[in-house]
Amino acid sequence: MELPTWKTINHACIVFEAGNSKEYLTGDWRSMRPEREDAKCVKCGECWMYCPDAAIYQDEQGYYAVDYDYCKGCGICARECKHGAITMVEESE
């Protein structure tokens, strides 16, 4: 997304469209990335319940996957997963 200049930015920072916060990909903030091991995941959905950013969704196979566009890498899913299926990995790795 190309950032606006002081001349093109909306007057007084007014936002003219409703619900456009979804265009802002907060996943950019992440320094640690959650990764799931299919072999350990039992599809219980605990991570989905705990995720404060609603950045976890169920994929076609029923696994809980991470929406990396919005996951901020807080690590709550990894902490709460009782089966050790999620590990936090440095983004640089």
């Binding site: 606006p4 002081w6 001349k7 930015i9 007084a12 936002v15």
Partner: protein, 391 residues
């Protein structure tokens, strides 16, 4: 031609607000602003003004209500001073950041401590960087006229900034003066109803006051800064249009006897009236002294000030506000800074006085001019001096 009326200046301000047909007033009473809001509450209660008068529990709430009503597209007025303005501070910045055309009359008063209810300009000087158009009135007629013009300036789509109209507490707010009051028809023909370009409307949604991340904030602030700087031509245009209609012309910077003046007194507000008399006395005695009054303080009128002072040897800037242990009176520091790169410029002597209601008499203006000239002649110019203080 309006009707010449003997009237208290605060009441004249309220009358002007009534003629401007405001939609919302949210204010909390504080001396010496009280008469302004008291009279407006009567105007609403007695049905002379069809507006919402919101009684609030503090000035912070007053300005918060104003932000809400102005964002909803209502013509909005408030008034305060001193501790009240200080309490508003947080929201004062928000009103200008959101570009809401609120008009606020400030009956300028000093800030505690020590506690004092009397007038000076410490309160408005503390809001210098808040992004409001800031205008100083010098007499009752100017208060009436500038109140009306403030709405027209603020609401102009090329402006959309709040306006702070400063009238000296007590020295203006509490005196009775002959003031030409214009008729409702004439004022309303000159000031059309406010139609907000951007407003909160459930049928046409938009968000104001959005959160800005570091990658947006500076662009928004630069936009605000350039926009406020760009309001001066519009202010001048409104001043001229008002003059053409009502016969009283205003300028961002007013010059009096500045032709060939060697020394110029520079100041803002009601005390300039006394300074004018002192200039007359000194001119009669053959001294080349003039007076420059600053009517529009924000946006800062760089060109007008440098031009007005270019021919003088000495500029005595009189501040009714003390920047404690700072580089000089607030106005003097700004003028000194504005002149710094000019080739032709006077020496700026900063004099701080008239604090908390202390009068500055004609003789004192003459003494200040003499003192400033002596400083310049000796080459020893103090950063600033406080005058009229017992040693």
């Amino acid at each position: 031609m309006g009707k010449l009326t003997g009237i208290e200046v605060s009441i004249a301000c309220s009358e002007a607000v009534t003629l401007c047909d405001v939609d919302v007033i949210a204010a909390y009473p504080i001396t010496p602003q009280t008469h302004i809001v008291e009279h407006l509450s009567e105007q609403v209660a007695e049905g002379h003004l069809d507006a919402e008068y919101i009684k609030v529990e503090s000035e912070h709430s007053a300005m918060s209500c104003c932000v809400g009503s102005s964002a909803a597209g209502a013509r909005t007025f408030t008034s305060t001073c001193s501790q009240g303005l200080a309490l508003m501070h947080e929201i004062v910045m928000i009103a200008s950041g959101l570009r809401l055309p609120i008009v606020m009359a400030v009956a300028t008063r000093t800030l505690s401590a020590p506690l004092s209810i009397w007038g000076d300009q410490s309160d408005v000087m503390s809001e210098r960087d808040s992004g409001w158009i800031t205008i100083f009135a010098e007499n009752g007629q100017e208060v009436f006229d500038l109140t009306v013009q403030s709405f027209r300036i603020a609401e102009d789509e090329r402006v959309l900034f709040p306006v702070m109209l400063c009238l000296d507490g007590f020295h203006l707010s509490h005196v009775i003066e002959p003031i030409e009051l214009e008729s409702k028809e004439d004022v309303q023909a000159w000031l059309p109803p406010y139609k907000a370009k951007y407003r909160l409307d459930p049928d046409n949604v938009l968000s104001m006051g959005a959160f800005a991340m570091p990658d947006y904030f500076s662009e928004i602030k630069k936009q605000q800064n350039e926009a406020l700087r760009g309001t001066l031509p519009v202010i001048k245009e409104v001043f001229k249009d008002f003059g053409d209609r009502f016969g009283r012309y205003y300028e961002p910077v007013t010059r009096y006897q500045t032709e060939e003046a060697e020394t110029i007194i520079v100041m803002a507000g009601a005390f300039a009236g006394t300074a004018r008399l002192a200039v007359d006395t000194m001119r009669a005695a053959g001294k080349k002294v003039g007076l420059v009054t600053i009517k529009v303080f924000r946006p800062f009128p760089f060109e007008e000030i440098t031009e007005a002072l270019a021919g003088a040897k000495t500029a005595v800037v009189i501040d009714r506000a003390l920047s404690v242990a700072g580089p000089g009176g607030p106005m003097a520091s700004e003028i000194r800074s504005a002149l710094y790169h000019e080739q032709k410029k006077p020496a700026v002597v900063s004099m701080v006085g008239g604090l908390s209601g202390r009068d500055v008499f004609q003789e004192q203006f003459i003494e200040l001019v003499e003192r400033a000239e002596a400083c310049v002649a000796s080459g020893k110019i103090p950063q600033y001096e406080m005058f009229g203080v017992r040693e």
